[in-house]
Protein backbone atom coordinates (compact mmCIF):
# COMPACT_ATOMS: atom_id res chain seq x y z
CA UNK A 1 0.00 0.00 0.00
CA UNK A 2 1.38 3.43 -0.87
CA UNK A 3 1.86 5.95 1.91
CA UNK A 4 -0.97 8.02 0.41
CA UNK A 5 -3.37 5.07 0.41
CA UNK A 6 -2.36 4.11 3.96
CA UNK A 7 -3.05 7.72 4.96
CA UNK A 8 -6.46 7.77 3.23
CA UNK A 9 -7.42 4.48 4.88
CA UNK A 10 -6.91 6.10 8.29
CA UNK A 11 -8.91 9.16 7.19
CA UNK A 12 -11.74 6.89 6.03
CA UNK A 13 -12.15 5.49 9.56
CA UNK A 14 -13.55 8.84 10.65
CA UNK A 15 -15.93 9.54 7.77
CA UNK A 16 -18.27 7.97 5.26
CA UNK A 17 -16.00 8.61 2.25
CA UNK A 18 -13.95 5.64 1.00
CA UNK A 19 -10.21 6.03 0.26
CA UNK A 20 -10.98 5.62 -3.45
CA UNK A 21 -13.58 8.40 -3.46
CA UNK A 22 -11.39 10.77 -1.48
CA UNK A 23 -9.89 13.65 -3.44
CA UNK A 24 -6.95 15.70 -2.26
CA UNK A 25 -8.90 18.96 -2.34
CA UNK A 26 -11.44 17.71 0.23
CA UNK A 27 -11.54 19.66 3.49
CA UNK A 28 -11.50 17.61 6.70
CA UNK A 29 -14.16 19.55 8.59
CA UNK A 30 -16.42 20.79 5.80
CA UNK A 31 -16.31 17.93 3.26
CA UNK A 32 -15.39 14.88 5.32
CA UNK A 33 -17.42 15.85 8.40
CA UNK A 34 -14.57 15.52 10.91
CA UNK A 35 -15.29 16.94 14.35
CA UNK A 36 -12.41 18.91 15.90
CA UNK A 37 -11.67 15.89 18.09
CA UNK A 38 -11.84 13.41 15.18
CA UNK A 39 -9.11 15.49 13.60
CA UNK A 40 -6.91 15.39 16.70
CA UNK A 41 -7.46 11.67 17.17
CA UNK A 42 -6.69 11.05 13.49
CA UNK A 43 -3.41 12.97 13.83
CA UNK A 44 -2.53 10.86 16.86
CA UNK A 45 -3.06 7.75 14.73
CA UNK A 46 -0.87 9.24 11.99
CA UNK A 47 1.91 9.75 14.55
CA UNK A 48 1.66 6.14 15.69
CA UNK A 49 1.38 4.68 12.17
CA UNK A 50 4.19 6.68 10.58
CA UNK A 51 6.29 7.11 13.74
CA UNK A 52 6.14 10.92 13.69
CA UNK A 53 6.13 13.75 16.17
CA UNK A 54 3.62 16.40 15.11
CA UNK A 55 3.52 19.92 16.51
CA UNK A 56 0.00 21.06 17.40
CA UNK A 57 0.72 24.52 16.00
CA UNK A 58 1.59 23.08 12.55
CA UNK A 59 -1.27 20.65 12.31
CA UNK A 60 -3.97 23.11 13.29
CA UNK A 61 -3.23 25.02 10.06
CA UNK A 62 -4.08 21.95 7.98
CA UNK A 63 -7.48 22.21 6.27
CA UNK A 64 -7.39 19.79 3.31
CA UNK A 65 -6.28 16.22 2.54
CA UNK A 66 -3.59 17.66 0.27
CA UNK A 67 -2.16 19.89 3.00
CA UNK A 68 -2.01 16.91 5.39
CA UNK A 69 -0.23 14.80 2.76
CA UNK A 70 2.26 17.61 2.17
CA UNK A 71 2.93 17.80 5.92
CA UNK A 72 3.47 14.05 6.00
CA UNK A 73 5.83 14.32 3.06
CA UNK A 74 7.92 17.01 4.82
CA UNK A 75 8.39 14.96 8.00
Amino acid sequence: MTQEMQFKTIVAQYCKVTPEEMTNSMRFREDLGFSSLDFMSFLGELEDTFDLELEEEDVLKVLTVEEALELLERL
Binding site: S35, L37, G44, E45, E47
Partner: protein, 519 residues
Protein backbone atom coordinates in the same frame (compact mmCIF):
# COMPACT_ATOMS: atom_id res chain seq x y z
CA UNK B 1 -21.66 27.06 58.41
CA UNK B 2 -20.37 25.28 55.37
CA UNK B 3 -17.38 23.53 53.91
CA UNK B 4 -14.19 24.97 52.44
CA UNK B 5 -12.12 23.52 49.61
CA UNK B 6 -9.18 24.00 51.98
CA UNK B 7 -10.83 21.55 54.43
CA UNK B 8 -11.23 19.00 51.63
CA UNK B 9 -7.66 19.32 50.36
CA UNK B 10 -6.02 19.38 53.79
CA UNK B 11 -7.89 16.26 54.84
CA UNK B 12 -6.79 14.45 51.69
CA UNK B 13 -3.18 15.49 52.11
CA UNK B 14 -3.26 13.95 55.60
CA UNK B 15 -5.14 10.78 54.68
CA UNK B 16 -3.40 10.07 51.38
CA UNK B 17 -0.01 11.71 52.00
CA UNK B 18 2.09 9.08 50.21
CA UNK B 19 -0.35 8.38 47.35
CA UNK B 20 0.35 9.96 43.97
CA UNK B 21 -1.90 12.97 43.47
CA UNK B 22 -0.73 14.09 40.01
CA UNK B 23 1.20 12.42 37.23
CA UNK B 24 2.19 13.81 33.87
CA UNK B 25 4.39 13.19 30.87
CA UNK B 26 7.39 15.23 29.87
CA UNK B 27 9.35 14.02 26.86
CA UNK B 28 7.85 10.53 27.24
CA UNK B 29 8.91 10.28 30.90
CA UNK B 30 6.27 10.06 33.64
CA UNK B 31 6.62 12.52 36.53
CA UNK B 32 4.66 12.23 39.78
CA UNK B 33 3.73 14.34 42.81
CA UNK B 34 2.34 12.78 46.01
CA UNK B 35 -0.45 14.39 48.02
CA UNK B 36 2.01 15.65 50.65
CA UNK B 37 4.35 17.06 47.98
CA UNK B 38 1.45 18.75 46.21
CA UNK B 39 0.20 20.30 49.45
CA UNK B 40 3.68 21.68 50.12
CA UNK B 41 3.60 23.47 46.74
CA UNK B 42 0.03 24.71 47.32
CA UNK B 43 1.06 26.23 50.65
CA UNK B 44 4.04 27.96 49.06
CA UNK B 45 1.82 29.57 46.43
CA UNK B 46 -0.72 30.64 49.08
CA UNK B 47 1.93 32.14 51.37
CA UNK B 48 3.67 33.73 48.41
CA UNK B 49 0.46 35.49 47.36
CA UNK B 50 0.06 36.80 50.91
CA UNK B 51 3.68 37.95 51.09
CA UNK B 52 3.32 39.77 47.75
CA UNK B 53 0.25 41.63 49.02
CA UNK B 54 -2.50 39.95 47.00
CA UNK B 55 -4.84 39.04 49.88
CA UNK B 56 -8.46 39.58 48.84
CA UNK B 57 -7.54 40.10 45.18
CA UNK B 58 -8.75 38.38 42.01
CA UNK B 59 -6.11 36.32 40.23
CA UNK B 60 -6.50 34.94 36.71
CA UNK B 61 -4.98 31.76 35.29
CA UNK B 62 -4.33 31.07 31.60
CA UNK B 63 -2.86 27.74 30.63
CA UNK B 64 -3.51 24.10 29.88
CA UNK B 65 -3.60 21.38 32.57
CA UNK B 66 -0.36 21.05 34.49
CA UNK B 67 0.80 20.38 38.04
CA UNK B 68 1.81 24.05 38.24
CA UNK B 69 -1.64 25.21 37.09
CA UNK B 70 -3.58 23.15 39.63
CA UNK B 71 -1.18 23.92 42.51
CA UNK B 72 -1.50 27.63 41.74
CA UNK B 73 -5.29 27.34 41.53
CA UNK B 74 -5.42 25.58 44.90
CA UNK B 75 -2.95 28.10 46.33
CA UNK B 76 -5.38 30.86 45.37
CA UNK B 77 -8.64 29.32 46.56
CA UNK B 78 -7.32 27.92 49.84
CA UNK B 79 -6.44 31.47 50.89
CA UNK B 80 -8.51 34.65 50.81
CA UNK B 81 -8.00 35.15 47.09
CA UNK B 82 -10.31 34.51 44.13
CA UNK B 83 -9.26 32.38 41.14
CA UNK B 84 -10.37 33.31 37.62
CA UNK B 85 -9.50 30.43 35.27
CA UNK B 86 -9.63 31.47 31.62
CA UNK B 87 -9.68 29.53 28.34
CA UNK B 88 -6.10 29.48 27.06
CA UNK B 89 -7.40 28.94 23.52
CA UNK B 90 -9.21 32.28 23.28
CA UNK B 91 -7.79 35.08 21.13
CA UNK B 92 -5.67 37.65 23.01
CA UNK B 93 -8.28 40.42 22.74
CA UNK B 94 -10.91 38.21 24.43
CA UNK B 95 -8.52 37.25 27.24
CA UNK B 96 -7.63 40.90 27.82
CA UNK B 97 -11.35 41.71 28.06
CA UNK B 98 -11.94 38.92 30.62
CA UNK B 99 -8.91 39.86 32.73
CA UNK B 100 -10.17 43.44 32.84
CA UNK B 101 -13.84 42.61 33.42
CA UNK B 102 -12.96 40.20 36.24
CA UNK B 103 -10.83 42.90 37.92
CA UNK B 104 -7.90 40.50 38.07
CA UNK B 105 -4.80 42.07 39.61
CA UNK B 106 -2.40 39.20 38.98
CA UNK B 107 -2.09 36.41 36.46
CA UNK B 108 -0.57 32.96 36.22
CA UNK B 109 0.36 32.33 32.58
CA UNK B 110 1.31 29.00 30.99
CA UNK B 111 4.65 28.93 29.12
CA UNK B 112 2.87 27.94 25.87
CA UNK B 113 0.92 31.21 26.08
CA UNK B 114 4.00 33.38 26.51
CA UNK B 115 3.25 35.12 23.20
CA UNK B 116 0.31 36.86 24.93
CA UNK B 117 2.57 38.68 27.40
CA UNK B 118 3.06 41.95 25.53
CA UNK B 119 -0.62 42.32 24.62
CA UNK B 120 -1.72 41.61 28.19
CA UNK B 121 0.88 43.91 29.75
CA UNK B 122 -0.18 46.72 27.42
CA UNK B 123 -3.93 46.33 27.76
CA UNK B 124 -4.52 45.23 31.38
CA UNK B 125 -3.54 48.20 33.55
CA UNK B 126 -4.83 46.65 36.79
CA UNK B 127 -2.44 43.69 36.54
CA UNK B 128 0.39 44.15 39.01
CA UNK B 129 2.12 40.84 38.51
CA UNK B 130 2.35 37.95 36.05
CA UNK B 131 3.88 34.66 37.13
CA UNK B 132 4.84 32.28 34.36
CA UNK B 133 3.82 28.73 35.29
CA UNK B 134 7.38 27.44 35.18
CA UNK B 135 10.20 26.78 37.60
CA UNK B 136 12.85 28.19 35.25
CA UNK B 137 13.82 31.86 35.58
CA UNK B 138 12.00 34.28 33.27
CA UNK B 139 13.95 36.15 30.65
CA UNK B 140 13.21 39.83 30.00
CA UNK B 141 13.27 42.99 31.98
CA UNK B 142 9.64 43.80 32.81
CA UNK B 143 9.49 43.90 36.60
CA UNK B 144 5.90 42.72 36.55
CA UNK B 145 6.85 39.34 35.09
CA UNK B 146 8.35 36.58 37.24
CA UNK B 147 8.27 32.80 37.51
CA UNK B 148 6.23 30.54 39.77
CA UNK B 149 9.53 29.67 41.46
CA UNK B 150 9.99 33.37 42.34
CA UNK B 151 6.55 33.43 43.99
CA UNK B 152 7.38 30.33 46.01
CA UNK B 153 10.67 31.94 47.09
CA UNK B 154 8.70 34.99 48.24
CA UNK B 155 6.76 32.66 50.56
CA UNK B 156 9.98 31.91 52.44
CA UNK B 157 10.22 35.55 53.54
CA UNK B 158 7.30 35.10 55.91
CA UNK B 159 5.95 32.67 58.49
CA UNK B 160 2.43 34.02 58.05
CA UNK B 161 -0.15 32.00 56.21
CA UNK B 162 -3.28 33.34 54.55
CA UNK B 163 -6.43 33.27 56.68
CA UNK B 164 -8.98 30.62 55.91
CA UNK B 165 -11.73 32.01 53.70
CA UNK B 166 -15.35 31.98 54.86
CA UNK B 167 -17.67 29.35 53.42
CA UNK B 168 -19.73 31.95 51.56
CA UNK B 169 -16.70 33.83 50.19
CA UNK B 170 -16.36 33.68 46.41
CA UNK B 171 -13.64 31.12 45.60
CA UNK B 172 -13.67 31.28 41.84
CA UNK B 173 -15.17 33.14 38.87
CA UNK B 174 -15.77 30.96 35.82
CA UNK B 175 -16.78 32.55 32.52
CA UNK B 176 -19.65 31.08 30.57
CA UNK B 177 -21.36 32.03 27.30
CA UNK B 178 -24.11 34.58 27.66
CA UNK B 179 -27.21 34.68 25.49
CA UNK B 180 -26.66 38.36 24.80
CA UNK B 181 -23.29 37.65 23.24
CA UNK B 182 -21.24 38.73 26.25
CA UNK B 183 -19.76 36.03 28.45
CA UNK B 184 -20.73 36.11 32.12
CA UNK B 185 -18.51 35.54 35.17
CA UNK B 186 -20.14 32.90 37.38
CA UNK B 187 -19.23 33.52 41.03
CA UNK B 188 -18.92 30.25 42.96
CA UNK B 189 -18.30 30.22 46.70
CA UNK B 190 -16.22 27.82 48.75
CA UNK B 191 -19.39 26.13 49.95
CA UNK B 192 -20.84 25.95 46.41
CA UNK B 193 -17.80 23.97 45.23
CA UNK B 194 -17.26 21.85 48.34
CA UNK B 195 -20.89 20.76 48.64
CA UNK B 196 -20.95 19.80 44.95
CA UNK B 197 -17.85 17.67 45.49
CA UNK B 198 -19.49 16.00 48.50
CA UNK B 199 -22.91 15.48 46.90
CA UNK B 200 -21.77 13.54 43.83
CA UNK B 201 -22.29 9.95 44.95
CA UNK B 202 -19.23 8.22 43.66
CA UNK B 203 -16.30 6.62 45.35
CA UNK B 204 -13.23 4.66 44.29
CA UNK B 205 -10.13 3.16 45.86
CA UNK B 206 -7.54 5.84 46.73
CA UNK B 207 -4.80 5.75 44.11
CA UNK B 208 -7.21 4.77 41.29
CA UNK B 209 -6.18 6.67 38.17
CA UNK B 210 -8.31 9.33 36.48
CA UNK B 211 -7.03 10.57 33.11
CA UNK B 212 -8.05 14.22 32.83
CA UNK B 213 -8.75 15.09 29.18
CA UNK B 214 -11.11 18.07 29.41
CA UNK B 215 -9.98 21.71 29.47
CA UNK B 216 -9.09 22.56 33.05
CA UNK B 217 -10.80 25.99 33.03
CA UNK B 218 -14.18 24.24 32.62
CA UNK B 219 -16.21 23.74 35.78
CA UNK B 220 -16.91 20.07 34.94
CA UNK B 221 -13.20 19.26 34.65
CA UNK B 222 -12.01 21.51 37.45
CA UNK B 223 -14.54 20.39 40.04
CA UNK B 224 -15.24 16.79 39.06
CA UNK B 225 -11.86 15.58 37.75
CA UNK B 226 -9.65 17.56 40.08
CA UNK B 227 -11.46 18.60 43.25
CA UNK B 228 -13.64 15.48 43.47
CA UNK B 229 -10.67 13.31 42.52
CA UNK B 230 -8.52 14.89 45.23
CA UNK B 231 -11.30 14.46 47.83
CA UNK B 232 -11.17 10.69 47.19
CA UNK B 233 -7.37 10.40 47.11
CA UNK B 234 -7.37 9.51 43.40
CA UNK B 235 -4.39 9.93 41.09
CA UNK B 236 -4.98 12.57 38.41
CA UNK B 237 -3.06 11.90 35.21
CA UNK B 238 -2.71 14.83 32.81
CA UNK B 239 -3.43 14.31 29.12
CA UNK B 240 -0.74 16.41 27.44
CA UNK B 241 -2.60 16.78 24.13
CA UNK B 242 -5.85 15.67 22.53
CA UNK B 243 -3.64 14.22 19.81
CA UNK B 244 -2.51 11.61 22.30
CA UNK B 245 -5.68 10.84 24.25
CA UNK B 246 -5.83 7.17 23.16
CA UNK B 247 -2.07 6.72 23.52
CA UNK B 248 -2.21 8.21 27.02
CA UNK B 249 -5.08 5.92 27.98
CA UNK B 250 -2.62 3.09 27.36
CA UNK B 251 0.25 4.76 29.22
CA UNK B 252 -1.66 5.81 32.36
CA UNK B 253 -4.28 3.02 32.27
CA UNK B 254 -7.02 5.03 34.00
CA UNK B 255 -9.99 3.31 35.61
CA UNK B 256 -12.19 6.44 35.47
CA UNK B 257 -12.49 9.25 32.93
CA UNK B 258 -14.70 12.30 32.42
CA UNK B 259 -15.55 13.04 28.81
CA UNK B 260 -17.82 15.16 26.70
CA UNK B 261 -19.99 13.28 24.18
CA UNK B 262 -17.76 14.28 21.26
CA UNK B 263 -14.90 12.26 22.76
CA UNK B 264 -17.09 9.20 23.11
CA UNK B 265 -18.20 9.57 19.48
CA UNK B 266 -14.58 9.84 18.28
CA UNK B 267 -13.37 6.84 20.29
CA UNK B 268 -16.29 4.82 18.98
CA UNK B 269 -15.15 5.51 15.40
CA UNK B 270 -11.85 3.84 16.28
CA UNK B 271 -13.62 0.84 17.77
CA UNK B 272 -16.05 0.52 14.86
CA UNK B 273 -13.39 0.75 12.16
CA UNK B 274 -11.23 -2.01 13.64
CA UNK B 275 -10.97 -5.42 11.96
CA UNK B 276 -14.03 -7.40 13.19
CA UNK B 277 -11.79 -10.47 13.55
CA UNK B 278 -10.06 -8.84 16.55
CA UNK B 279 -11.69 -10.13 19.78
CA UNK B 280 -13.64 -7.41 21.65
CA UNK B 281 -11.59 -7.78 24.83
CA UNK B 282 -8.32 -7.31 22.97
CA UNK B 283 -9.63 -4.31 21.05
CA UNK B 284 -11.06 -2.78 24.23
CA UNK B 285 -7.67 -3.08 25.95
CA UNK B 286 -5.91 -1.58 22.92
CA UNK B 287 -8.17 1.48 22.87
CA UNK B 288 -9.12 2.02 26.53
CA UNK B 289 -6.11 0.55 28.33
CA UNK B 290 -6.47 -2.37 30.74
CA UNK B 291 -8.41 -0.73 33.56
CA UNK B 292 -11.05 1.67 32.23
CA UNK B 293 -14.46 0.83 33.71
CA UNK B 294 -16.33 4.12 34.05
CA UNK B 295 -16.77 7.19 31.85
CA UNK B 296 -18.78 10.07 33.28
CA UNK B 297 -20.15 12.33 30.60
CA UNK B 298 -22.04 15.59 30.49
CA UNK B 299 -22.18 18.98 28.84
CA UNK B 300 -24.29 17.89 25.88
CA UNK B 301 -26.69 15.18 24.76
CA UNK B 302 -25.23 11.72 24.17
CA UNK B 303 -27.00 9.21 21.95
CA UNK B 304 -27.72 6.15 24.12
CA UNK B 305 -26.45 3.98 21.23
CA UNK B 306 -22.92 4.69 22.47
CA UNK B 307 -23.78 3.62 26.01
CA UNK B 308 -24.82 0.18 24.73
CA UNK B 309 -21.79 -0.10 22.46
CA UNK B 310 -19.26 0.83 25.15
CA UNK B 311 -20.90 -1.66 27.56
CA UNK B 312 -19.85 -4.39 25.10
CA UNK B 313 -16.25 -3.49 25.95
CA UNK B 314 -16.89 -3.49 29.70
CA UNK B 315 -17.04 0.32 30.02
CA UNK B 316 -20.04 1.95 31.73
CA UNK B 317 -20.92 5.37 30.35
CA UNK B 318 -22.80 7.39 32.97
CA UNK B 319 -24.53 10.59 31.89
CA UNK B 320 -24.94 13.58 34.13
CA UNK B 321 -26.20 17.13 33.85
CA UNK B 322 -24.90 20.41 35.07
CA UNK B 323 -23.89 23.97 34.33
CA UNK B 324 -21.20 26.29 35.66
CA UNK B 325 -23.87 28.17 37.63
CA UNK B 326 -24.44 24.99 39.71
CA UNK B 327 -20.77 24.24 40.47
CA UNK B 328 -21.52 22.35 38.07
CA UNK B 329 -23.31 19.00 38.70
CA UNK B 330 -27.10 19.01 39.13
CA UNK B 331 -27.88 15.34 38.52
CA UNK B 332 -25.91 12.23 37.66
CA UNK B 333 -26.28 8.57 36.97
CA UNK B 334 -24.06 6.48 39.22
CA UNK B 335 -22.60 2.99 38.82
CA UNK B 336 -25.30 1.59 41.16
CA UNK B 337 -28.25 3.74 40.16
CA UNK B 338 -28.77 4.67 36.52
CA UNK B 339 -31.26 4.77 33.71
CA UNK B 340 -30.29 5.00 30.03
CA UNK B 341 -31.60 8.15 28.32
CA UNK B 342 -31.87 9.98 31.63
CA UNK B 343 -29.34 12.40 33.08
CA UNK B 344 -29.66 10.73 36.48
CA UNK B 345 -31.27 11.59 39.76
CA UNK B 346 -30.78 15.08 41.20
CA UNK B 347 -27.92 15.23 43.74
CA UNK B 348 -28.83 15.01 47.42
CA UNK B 349 -28.31 18.78 47.85
CA UNK B 350 -30.51 19.67 44.86
CA UNK B 351 -34.22 20.50 44.71
CA UNK B 352 -35.84 20.52 41.28
CA UNK B 353 -38.91 22.43 40.15
CA UNK B 354 -40.36 23.38 36.76
CA UNK B 355 -41.69 26.60 35.25
CA UNK B 356 -43.52 25.97 31.95
CA UNK B 357 -41.30 22.94 31.46
CA UNK B 358 -38.05 24.81 32.26
CA UNK B 359 -35.89 23.05 34.87
CA UNK B 360 -35.35 25.16 38.00
CA UNK B 361 -32.70 24.33 40.60
CA UNK B 362 -32.33 25.20 44.28
CA UNK B 363 -29.11 23.95 45.85
CA UNK B 364 -26.19 24.80 48.14
CA UNK B 365 -24.16 24.64 44.92
CA UNK B 366 -26.06 27.39 43.07
CA UNK B 367 -23.82 30.39 42.32
CA UNK B 368 -23.81 33.67 44.20
CA UNK B 369 -24.48 35.51 40.92
CA UNK B 370 -22.79 36.82 37.78
CA UNK B 371 -19.86 39.12 38.51
CA UNK B 372 -20.93 42.77 38.10
CA UNK B 373 -24.02 41.77 36.09
CA UNK B 374 -26.98 42.40 38.43
CA UNK B 375 -29.56 42.37 35.65
CA UNK B 376 -28.46 39.00 34.24
CA UNK B 377 -28.24 37.63 37.80
CA UNK B 378 -31.80 38.74 38.54
CA UNK B 379 -33.05 37.15 35.31
CA UNK B 380 -31.43 33.82 36.17
CA UNK B 381 -31.92 33.65 39.96
CA UNK B 382 -35.55 34.29 40.82
CA UNK B 383 -36.86 33.69 44.34
CA UNK B 384 -33.93 31.43 45.16
CA UNK B 385 -34.46 29.27 42.06
CA UNK B 386 -31.91 29.09 39.26
CA UNK B 387 -33.48 29.05 35.80
CA UNK B 388 -31.41 26.59 33.79
CA UNK B 389 -32.67 27.42 30.28
CA UNK B 390 -33.25 23.69 29.69
CA UNK B 391 -36.63 22.01 29.44
CA UNK B 392 -37.18 18.64 31.05
CA UNK B 393 -39.16 16.40 33.40
CA UNK B 394 -38.76 13.94 36.27
CA UNK B 395 -40.05 10.41 35.69
CA UNK B 396 -41.95 8.33 38.24
CA UNK B 397 -38.65 6.94 39.62
CA UNK B 398 -37.18 10.39 40.17
CA UNK B 399 -34.80 10.38 37.18
CA UNK B 400 -34.37 13.66 35.32
CA UNK B 401 -34.75 13.93 31.53
CA UNK B 402 -34.05 16.86 29.16
CA UNK B 403 -36.21 17.50 26.13
CA UNK B 404 -35.46 21.01 24.88
CA UNK B 405 -33.90 24.44 25.36
CA UNK B 406 -35.39 27.76 26.38
CA UNK B 407 -32.38 29.98 25.87
CA UNK B 408 -30.73 30.70 22.57
CA UNK B 409 -27.43 28.86 23.00
CA UNK B 410 -25.92 26.26 20.70
CA UNK B 411 -24.71 23.22 22.65
CA UNK B 412 -22.03 21.30 20.76
CA UNK B 413 -21.22 17.70 21.59
CA UNK B 414 -17.88 18.82 23.02
CA UNK B 415 -19.94 20.48 25.76
CA UNK B 416 -19.15 24.01 24.66
CA UNK B 417 -22.06 26.42 24.88
CA UNK B 418 -21.87 28.81 22.00
CA UNK B 419 -23.61 32.15 21.90
CA UNK B 420 -24.42 32.62 18.19
CA UNK B 421 -24.75 36.39 18.62
CA UNK B 422 -21.17 36.65 19.87
CA UNK B 423 -19.87 35.05 16.67
CA UNK B 424 -22.37 36.82 14.39
CA UNK B 425 -21.15 40.18 15.71
CA UNK B 426 -17.61 39.30 14.62
CA UNK B 427 -18.62 37.87 11.23
CA UNK B 428 -20.77 40.89 10.48
CA UNK B 429 -17.53 42.89 10.19
CA UNK B 430 -16.75 41.11 6.89
CA UNK B 431 -17.33 43.57 4.02
CA UNK B 432 -19.14 40.96 1.93
CA UNK B 433 -21.33 39.88 4.86
CA UNK B 434 -24.74 41.58 4.58
CA UNK B 435 -26.67 39.49 7.10
CA UNK B 436 -25.46 36.48 9.07
CA UNK B 437 -26.94 33.86 11.37
CA UNK B 438 -24.90 31.11 13.01
CA UNK B 439 -26.55 27.74 13.55
CA UNK B 440 -25.36 24.48 15.11
CA UNK B 441 -25.39 21.66 12.57
CA UNK B 442 -23.62 18.30 12.27
CA UNK B 443 -21.70 18.91 15.46
CA UNK B 444 -20.21 22.16 14.25
CA UNK B 445 -21.15 25.75 13.48
CA UNK B 446 -22.58 26.86 10.15
CA UNK B 447 -22.65 30.48 9.03
CA UNK B 448 -25.66 31.34 6.89
CA UNK B 449 -24.76 34.53 5.07
CA UNK B 450 -26.71 36.84 2.82
CA UNK B 451 -24.04 38.73 0.87
CA UNK B 452 -23.86 42.52 0.84
CA UNK B 453 -25.67 43.24 -2.43
CA UNK B 454 -24.10 46.62 -3.11
CA UNK B 455 -20.63 45.05 -3.04
CA UNK B 456 -21.73 42.05 -5.15
CA UNK B 457 -22.97 44.44 -7.82
CA UNK B 458 -20.04 46.84 -7.62
CA UNK B 459 -17.51 44.01 -7.99
CA UNK B 460 -19.64 42.02 -10.45
CA UNK B 461 -19.31 38.83 -8.36
CA UNK B 462 -20.93 35.59 -9.50
CA UNK B 463 -22.05 32.76 -7.17
CA UNK B 464 -18.72 30.90 -7.22
CA UNK B 465 -16.76 34.10 -6.53
CA UNK B 466 -19.05 34.98 -3.60
CA UNK B 467 -18.65 31.47 -2.16
CA UNK B 468 -14.85 31.62 -2.52
CA UNK B 469 -14.55 35.11 -1.00
CA UNK B 470 -16.76 34.25 1.95
CA UNK B 471 -14.92 30.95 2.55
CA UNK B 472 -11.60 32.82 2.52
CA UNK B 473 -13.04 35.28 5.04
CA UNK B 474 -14.19 32.41 7.29
CA UNK B 475 -10.79 30.68 7.02
CA UNK B 476 -9.18 33.91 8.18
CA UNK B 477 -11.67 34.25 11.08
CA UNK B 478 -11.11 30.58 12.07
CA UNK B 479 -7.35 31.04 12.32
CA UNK B 480 -7.65 33.07 15.52
CA UNK B 481 -10.41 31.08 17.18
CA UNK B 482 -10.37 28.01 19.40
CA UNK B 483 -11.64 24.99 17.46
CA UNK B 484 -15.07 25.02 19.10
CA UNK B 485 -15.75 28.56 17.83
CA UNK B 486 -14.62 27.89 14.28
CA UNK B 487 -17.16 27.94 11.45
CA UNK B 488 -17.16 24.63 9.61
CA UNK B 489 -20.13 25.15 7.31
CA UNK B 490 -21.04 27.99 4.94
CA UNK B 491 -24.41 28.52 3.33
CA UNK B 492 -24.68 31.49 0.97
CA UNK B 493 -28.27 32.71 0.91
CA UNK B 494 -30.07 33.92 -2.16
CA UNK B 495 -32.55 35.97 -0.17
CA UNK B 496 -32.44 38.10 2.98
CA UNK B 497 -33.51 36.50 6.28
CA UNK B 498 -37.15 36.64 7.32
CA UNK B 499 -37.68 39.38 9.90
CA UNK B 500 -40.28 39.94 12.60
CA UNK B 501 -42.54 42.98 12.88
CA UNK B 502 -39.83 44.60 15.00
CA UNK B 503 -37.33 43.95 12.15
CA UNK B 504 -35.35 41.37 14.08
CA UNK B 505 -34.21 38.30 12.14
CA UNK B 506 -36.42 35.32 12.99
CA UNK B 507 -33.74 32.90 14.11
CA UNK B 508 -36.03 29.86 14.12
CA UNK B 509 -36.75 30.48 10.41
CA UNK B 510 -33.10 30.95 9.43
CA UNK B 511 -33.09 27.76 7.37
CA UNK B 512 -35.81 29.08 5.04
CA UNK B 513 -34.35 30.82 2.00
CA UNK B 514 -37.25 32.07 -0.09
CA UNK B 515 -38.18 35.34 -1.73
CA UNK B 516 -40.35 37.45 0.53
CA UNK B 517 -43.90 37.91 -0.71
CA UNK B 518 -44.39 41.37 -2.15
CA UNK B 519 -47.07 43.38 -0.40
Amino acid sequence: MGILIRDVIEESSRKYAEITAIQWLKKKEVFVRSYSEMMEQVEKVRKGLLAEGFSGKHIALIGTSSAEWIESYLGIITGKTVAVPLDAGLPGEDLVDLINRSDSEALFLGPKNKALLDEILAACPKLEKIWMLQEEAVEGTDKKVASLADLKTASEKTDSDAQRPKADDVATIIFTSGTTGKSKGVMLTQNNLATNVAAVEFTAEPGSVVLSVLPIHHAFCLVMDWLKGFSLGLTLAINDSLLHMVRNMNIFEPSIMLMVPMMIETIYKRLASADPAIPKKMLGTKVFGRNLRIIFTGGAHLDSYYIDKFAEYGVDVLEGYGMSECSPVISSNTPDDHKIGSIGRPLSNVEISFDNGEILVKSSSVMKGYYKMPQETAETLKGGWLHTGDKGYLDEDGFLFINGRVKNLIILSNGENISPEEIENKLALGELVGEVIVTGENNGLTARIYPEQELVEAKGLDEAMIQAELQAFLDQYNKNQPTYRQITGLVVRKHPFIRSATKKIKRQEAMIDEALPTV
